[in-house]
């Protein structure tokens, strides 16, 4: 059976050479880097090397600006809460974009319960933030600006360097969540004007169990996991040495392989999207067109009149692994807040599928996915009362309106008795 992995946003396989690098740190060099004996010092050296590799990967000035955490979520929590708490006396106001990852959004919400206020700068229908929207949201009490480099759902690349200049002018620390870009776009913390940057190597063929937070001296930060004096006092807890070592090498490899990876995925991205567009009516791409405003790995699709989970399951049965921002797929039964924030029609959000490419995908795979997906869409539409109602003129298409019938959303609201959310 053909198997195509198109969910690289959720996971990437560990590179064999990274695994080899990690191996000695499980059974042989098992020491704790806090220990002052041979076993501790040996792994301390290994961690230092990893830190230097990660620093080089993002053009940090010094490896002392690199802190290891357990994942991208913890890094985001540390960036948001760590800066907020450290600057509590200066002010309790934050500025974020409206489409940040839940690890940022929910950290902000948590702080709001503790007395902070937060401006959520809106984005345009492609998910693009206007830098001025950030400038306008800043108040004298603002202690942090947080904008992700690339959106995890729709692949939009944000104008980070411009926002970085605004942040520098206003003297507000600037945090850039690079989880969805690291390994797939060059990251230069200095060119970005970022004071804090986070990402996780599991997004680019490194191990799970390690996250990175870059922080330069212009941003004060306190720790959020309290305990021992690991990571320069910024992150307590026994270090996950094998993962840190592996993360370091994965970063080094990512820097080297980046041009090849980007070229390859950009090619596949276009082939896949062109193919789908040609074969499937009433399908659209959310976020910018493939090109300079969209990361090369992401296709966020809405296929009208059918729901996302069914598409996902059917694709999986056919060997194709994808994700979805549909409410049926989420554990909270809500559509992705990103799709809501870009103002995507509820019907289109329900029919959402996210395909994310990796370095090992092939052109043949793309062609297989196009054919397979086209068949699935046909089958699911045949099952869908909405397709029938569209064909009979009761409801209209959002993607290519015919001018007949009411909107899916109105129709759904009228039969469910409540507006769709």
């Amino acid at each position: 059976m053909t198997r195509v992995f198109l969910d690289h946003q959720s996971a990437t396989p560990l590179l064999p050479e990274v695994f080899e690098e990690m191996k000695p740190y499980f059974m042989e060099a098992y020491g704790n880097p806090s220990s002052l004996h041979q076993h501790g010092l040996r792994v301390r050296d290994a961690m230092k090397k990893a830190r230097a590799r990660v620093a080089a990967f993002i053009n940090a000035e010094s490896e002392e600006e690199i802190f290891f955490t357990s994942d991208g979520t913890e890094s985001a929590n540390l960036a948001i809460k760590g800066v907020a708490y450290a600057n509590e006396r200066r002010g309790k106001h934050l500025v974020v974009s409206a489409i940040e990852h839940p690890s940022v959004m929910n950290s902000v919400e948590f702080l709001e319960k503790q007395g902070w206020t937060c401006a959520r700068a809106p984005v345009d229908p492609q998910g693009r933030l206007r830098p001025e929207a950030i400038a306008e949201a800043i108040t004298p009490q603002t202690t942090l600006i947080a904008v992700h480099h690339v959106n995890h759902d729709i692949g939009t690349i944000e104008p980070i360097a411009q926002i970085g200049r605004i942040a520098a002018e206003k003297g507000v620390p600037f945090y850039v969540d690079c989880e969805a870009s690291a390994g797939w776009l060059p990251i230069d913390v200095q060119a970005m004007g970022a004071n804090l940057v986070s990402f996780s190597p599991h997004r680019f063929y490194g191990p799970k169990g390690v996250g990175v937070l870059y922080r330069n001296r212009k941003a004060r930060i306190v720790s959020i996991l309290h305990g021992g004096v690991q990571e320069g006092g910024r992150r307590a807890g026994t270090e996950n040495v094998p993962a840190i070592v592996g993360g370091g090498l994965a970063a080094e490899i990512a820097a080297r392989e980046l041009p090849r990876r980007v070229a390859r995925t950009a090619l596949l991205q276009r082939r896949l999207w062109e193919g789908l567009k040609a074969r499937i009516p009433y399908i659209r791409l959310n976020g910018p067109e493939p090109g300079p405003e969209r990361i090369s790995t992401n296709l966020n699709l809405s296929t009208e009149f059918i729901e996302g989970e069914g598409q996902l399951l059917s694709l999986d049965i056919s060997g194709v692994a994808v994700a979805s921002g549909s409410s049926c797929v989420s554990k909270s039964l809500k559509i992705s807040h990103v799709l809501a924030a870009i103002g995507l029609d509820h019907a289109l959000a329900q029919g959402n599928i996210i395909m994310t490419l990796g370095q090992d995908n092939t052109e043949q795979e793309m062609d297989y996915v196009v054919e397979t997906f086209a068949k699935i869409v046909t089958k699911l539409r045949a099952m869908s009362p909405m397709w029938e109602e569209f064909e009979s003129g009761v409801i209209d298409s959002v993607i290519s309106p015919t001018g007949r019938g009411k909107s899916f959303t109105d129709h759904a609201a009228s039969i469910s008795g409540k507006p769709a959310h």
Binding site: F305, E309, V329, M383, P385, S416
Partner: protein
């Protein structure tokens, strides 16, 4: 990977992949279409009723795997029942027959119950004489 892993159990997957009674009934005697406010799923059930008994039931569903499986299973279960019997149908029958649903997906079975009830109500509206007379013989 040699084994196959599934989100739902085998019965649910089977009803999702090979739905029974999918489609519409021409000249249906009752049609119900309902939507779940929770997640936006939409389900439509059409019934063919003869002599107070459900002779045929068909569904169309816009929704997740468990919504499709629930409607497939619901239509299977109610075929052959009297209108009166069908009025007592609950989502629990669907859940049991499917061998269980994840907690977060129980509402899909509720939707199936609601679609069926809506179709029965539609039938009764069109055939008010049926309401009072259990097992009454009503010409189709």
């Amino acid at each position: 990977m040699s084994e196959t892993y599934t989100l739902y159990n085998e019965t649910v997957m089977d009803h999702f992949l090979n739905p029974r009674n999918m489609g519409d009934i021409k000249d249906a005697d009752g049609v119900g279409e309902v939507g779940a406010a929770a997640c936006g799923d939409i389900m439509k059930i059409s019934l063919k009723i003869r002599e107070g008994r459900i002779e045929d039931a068909r569904f169309k569903t816009f929704g997740c795997g468990s919504a499709i499986a629930s409607s497939s299973m619901a239509t299977e279960l109610i075929k052959g029942r009297t209108v009166q019997e069908a009025m007592g149908f609950t989502n629990q029958e669907v859940v049991t027959a499917l061998g269980g649903l994840p907690p977060v997906k129980i509402h899909c079975s509720v939707l199936a119950e609601e679609a069926l009830k809506a179709a029965l109500e539609d039938y009764i509206k069109r055939h008010p004489e049926a309401a009072g007379k259990p097992d009454a013989t009503i010409p189709a």
